[in-house]
């Protein structure tokens, strides 16, 4: 009798354990064992990478500027099945994630399904597909309803995936995904700027100097790998232009305002980007070249 009870508990424990592990990669060997850590300490890497590039912030700004949607900015999903190496898969996962953010922003739900499918395929290939509830995402996109939920689940899934990669010493893949998001976001911003020049957008493009420096720092950490070296070198071409851009700060104390029970903090310290039209043109041209080379790596 006692043995039966033990067997029962063991069986239930295994089943419960499997359920709680549904969102983990289905590898028998932990990722942390498979992947050796980088030279830079993992917690330092996490600090550097976090929120280095949001898949929706550039798209949100473009939409708020009143710029019309255009599908010519997007990277084609036709190539997904040709991407066989994890390096290409992670990089393009980032590129498609940025495109998905743009599509979500403009409620282009029919195209969203294509990009979700591409993201799911690439995420599965690098063993992080469990973070994308594809059925729910596809249902929300197909029904063209509850678009806030679609946006929330898309971004939240991306964040969870990124966190998982960090916690399993796979920051190298996270760096590639983030690089893809960033390059595609900058490509989107610069392409829009060419047709719709705007001061706010110009400043946002110039501010990318801060992110670019961080991104190169991270990628160089893995540059003993030829592909990472190539990617870092591509971004260094952009950095050479960005080196001529100045970002200065005007100091001021923040103000706290309470209105109708809502607290607002107004920052009076300002960053000012000094960027010329020629630098903007050079960044747009080089970004386009770099982005097109990356999607064909």
């Amino acid at each position: 009798m006692l043995k039966k009870v033990i067997y029962l508990f063991v069986a239930v424990s295994i089943i419960t354990g499997c359920r709680s592990g549904e969102r983990r990669a289905d590898l028998s060997i932990p990722d942390s064992v498979l992947n050796q850590g980088p030279e830079m300490a993992e917690d330092v890497m996490q600090d550097v990478v976090q929120n280095i590039s949001s898949p929706v912030e550039m798209a949100a700004l473009i939409k708020e500027l009143g710029v019309e949607y255009s599908n010519r900015y997007l990277s084609s999903t036709d190539r997904v099945d040709d991407l066989s190496a994890s390096f290409q898969q992670a990089l393009n996962l980032g590129i498609y994630t940025a495109d998905l953010g743009y599509l979500n922003m403009y409620n282009k739900t029919s195209a969203v399904v294509d990009y979700l499918t591409a993201i799911k395929t690439l995420a599965d290939n690098i063993k992080v597909g469990q973070f994308f509830d594809f059925t729910t995402l596809k249902r929300l996109a197909t029904n063209n309803q509850n678009l806030d939920s679609l946006m929330y689940i898309s971004v939240h899934s991306f964040n969870e995936m990124d966190e998982y990669l960090h916690s399993n010493n796979r920051t190298n893949l996270s760096a590639l995904i983030v690089s893809g998001v960033w390059v595609e976001g900058l490509y989107l911003g610069t392409q829009v700027y060419k047709t719709t020049p705007d001061e706010l957008l110009a400043e946002r493009i110039g501010e990318q100097k801060l992110t670019l420096d961080q991104l190169i720092l991270i990628l160089e950490n893995y540059s003993t790998d030829r592909q990472y070296r190539t990617l870092a070198d591509e971004l260094i071409k952009l950095q050479e232009i960005y080196n001529g851009i100045t970002i200065r700060t005007e100091y001021g104390a923040p103000e706290m305002i309470e209105e109708n029970g809502m607290l607002t903090i107004v920052q009076n310290e300002k960053s000012i980007v000094e960027i010329t039209p020629d630098q903007l043109n050079q960044i747009a041209k080089t970004t386009e070249e770099v982005r097109n080379r990356l999607i064909n790596l």
């Binding site: 709680s20 029970g261 809502m262 607002t264």
Partner: protein
Amino acid sequence: MIRKILYSVIVTFIITAFTAISAQDISQLTAQCAANAGDVMYLEDFVVKLDQGTPGGAAPTQRFAMLLSKNIVYRFSICSAPNSEGEAVLQLYDMNNLIGSTFIPSTGKDYPSFDFKCQKTGVYHIFISFKDGKAGEGVGIMSYVKKL
């Protein structure tokens, strides 16, 4: 011997089951907290679980580094888990300067969120702790409100 094995199996079962429920609860808390942030766009969440601090010591805190952009209004919201002993507080720092907080000690007022009109692109730090250094579990949410 068999009893010892039985006890250890039961304990393992309880811990495993409890952990699974807790992860689900946090996921629901995050979704709920993001929804309560209002008509804004979710960008990032910060899940925190901290032990109680030592008497007389500083309250345990978890830190997150975030890149914020100029001319954007961000909303920072905080939610404590229903079973959390302590009440979560979110603070925003620029370098070593406190810029905003969901709890203002001088007035004793708590806010579920605050908006930050960002004028300087750069790395900021978000600190989450629990009042009086108590143990607790909660989540902070960063959302995009609009451009300035």
